[in-house]
Amino acid sequence: MLELQHVSAHYGPIQALAEVDLVVRAGEIVTLIGANGAGKSTLMTTLFGTPRASSGRILLEGEDITALPPHRIARRGMALVPEGRRVFAKMSVYENLLLGATPLDGAHVEENLRRVFSLFPVLETRRAQRAGTLSGGEQQMLAIGRALMSEPRLLLLDEPSLGLAPLVIRTIFRTIVALNREHGLTILLVEQNARQALKIAHRGYVLQNGRIVLEGSGAALLADPQVRAAYLDAAS
């Protein structure tokens, strides 16, 4: 579904991604783990063209999207839930969701709203409320719901558990699994919370200083002594 071939990306002179090769197949949950500053968020936003890949190719469902402008990429069935949620704080929950439907130019809004509300009933009760006044967990649900409004086939999640209480994190992870199993969504999940991410992922990649240093099935990475030492023991 998604394929990165030797993708590099830079912020000015700083190299943030170095020759990254990564594949996400249809129906999979793939997780990308790595320390702070490893380049995980950069990888996500590079898929949307900011920063642009300085070399390499990005293929989405076999088509080259490396040079497409961001608003075109979002129309190809890929949606990003950005790091830190980034809901439109002064706008209502409802308006946030409507904005998520932009790539469809307002098509199927009613159905998609209904789907999002059935997934996150709390959003329906809060739909007239300012997004900025929601709790962290609710904001994360809104950010995910907003992304789902564009009917993506591939959902990118950047640290959805960031700053949330353990109980809320569990709900979010359950939702991610449900989206994958029941709704057939392919998911690329970036997490610092490596243990939980690897548990639900089919496969995983480990990013270090902009390079993929390890890849394997979720279970294999969980058992890997290197991964355990670097990302699991300290974190748990």
Partner: protein
């Protein structure tokens, strides 16, 4: 008691420190202005010091600041910041009531003050500023793009009408769409180079753009008449009937069998700007509930999130600049038609600053707030005229008071663009 609580300075200490800091700054500023004075001594200028006056100023600043701080703190504790989560419906009702009464007042004004030239003139000026405020509100309040050169588009509109009418005989209504389109084009022209700029940088470039337009108008004498401006701009007529004592064809007062009065034209101009302003309001309100307007606000809230949602930030920004510029262009046409004479002097940075002040004081993005702020900024200097020398002082004090008491603007609360019907929420 914890160590942290012990270490925290008391409110009194904080206030004293604050007052000292302000006094220090004020003292520095007052040193040349008050502490030093030039006197004529044997035909030459000499500088004398006035330490006692300076010391009194310092004392006044210190105690004044203490009192102000105390008053403000008392005000804020008495009315704790209400953090209501949901959009309140009483708010909406109040707004609608206020809007309706303002509209009624605007429509009825000439009925009560029809023979008062001063009132009608001031109200017309107010109308222009309301329209400009609503236009700039699109750019600054909704899209969050700080534009310090807004007056440039106002100038484009005014000069378009002035030139088209004096050189090519276009009528007001013919020139209006042309001027709006041209101003919008200039908006896009400005928008392109600043697409990647934000905040301070954007402010500087737009400021420069406003000055460029003014300087070009000032110096391109063969085109714009330079500093002499353009005179003899035709006044709008009432569907072809001129407001004159006598004319070749029929005049307004002859047609309606009225006695000639110069007030007819002024009242007509007043209703014209009210109409234009209402059209502006209708357009902006409509756009706000369409995806275009929603995208403007999303852009103001978070540009990165916009990009990840597939919103084309380029077109969103350009459409905001173009819409705002077009509305200023319309206002400019009206201005030229009303004055009959325009020159670059009417389009200085001070004008941009006033319009921006209206938007900021009104509470960015609030349509009703713009009206209230425009009223404050237009009417207050008029009222202040009685105080002659203290006029600008009163004006400044009022601005400072508003920003101190309502730092987010007169009406900071944003109205939702989508009203939800609670009765429908249980339906599938």
């Amino acid at each position: 008691m914890t160590a942290a609580a012990l270490a925290a300075p008391s409110p009194l200490a904080l206030r004293l420190r604050d007052a000292l800091a302000v006094t220090l700054l004020g003292g520095l500023l007052a040193l040349p202005f008050i502490g030093l004075v030039t006197v004529e001594e044997g035909g030459a200028l000499a500088v004398r010091t006035r330490w006692s006056a300076w010391a009194m100023t310092l004392a006044a600043i210190f105690f004044g600041r203490l009192a102000l701080r105390a008053a403000l703190d008392a005000w804020h504790t008495r009315r704790p910041a209400r953090k209501r989560a949901a959009f309140s419906s009483t708010d909406a009702v109040l707004r609608r009531a206020a809007g309706t009464s303002l509209l009624a007042a605007a429509l009825l004004l000439p009925v009560f003050f029809g023979d008062n030239r001063y009132v009608i003139d001031t109200a017309t000026t107010l109308g222009i500023y309301v329209m400009l405020g609503w236009g700039l509100n699109v750019v600054v309040g909704l899209a969050g793009l700080l534009d310090l050169g807004y007056v440039a588009f106002y100038a484009v509109g005014a000069y378009t009408y002035a030139l088209l009418s004096t050189q090519f005989g276009w009528s007001f209504w013919e020139a209006l769409p042309a001027a709006g389109a041209l101003a919008a084009l200039f908006g896009i022209l400005l928008g392109y180079p600043v697409l990647r700029l934000r905040g301070d940088y954007l402010a500087i470039v737009t400021l420069g753009f406003g000055e460029i337009i003014r300087v070009v108008l000032l110096n391109w004498t063969s085109f714009s008449g330079g500093p002499n401006g353009i005179g003899g701009i035709p006044r709008p007529s009432f569907f072809g009937l001129p407001f004159a004592r006598s004319a070749e064809g029929q005049t307004f007062h002859e047609f309606f069998g009225l006695e000639f009065s110069p007030m007819h034209r002024l009242i007509f101009l007043y209703y014209l700007i009210v109409t234009l302003a209402l059209l502006t309001h209708a357009l902006v309100s409509r756009l706000r509930v369409l995806p275009t307007g929603r995208a403007w606000e999303a852009l103001r809230e978070d540009e990165i999130a916009c990009k990840s949602l597939g919103i084309n930030t380029t077109t969103v920004k350009l459409s905001a600049f173009a819409t705002g510029a077009m509305l200023a262009g319309f206002a400019g046409v009206f201005f030229a038609a009303r004055q009959g004479f325009i020159s670059p002097e009417s389009f200085t940075f001070a004008e941009s600053a006033t319009i921006l002040a209206i938007v900021v004081l009104g509470g960015m993005g609030s349509q009703l707030g713009v009206v209230l702020a425009a009223a404050v900024l237009v009417v207050l200097p008029e009222v202040g005229r009685q105080f002659a020398d203290y006029r600008m002082l009163v004006f400044g004090a009022a601005m400072v008071t508003i920003m101190a008491v309502r730092p987010m603007g007169l009406l900071a609360r944003r109205e939702p663009t989508v009203r939800l019907n609670p009765a429908r929420s249980s339906a599938p």
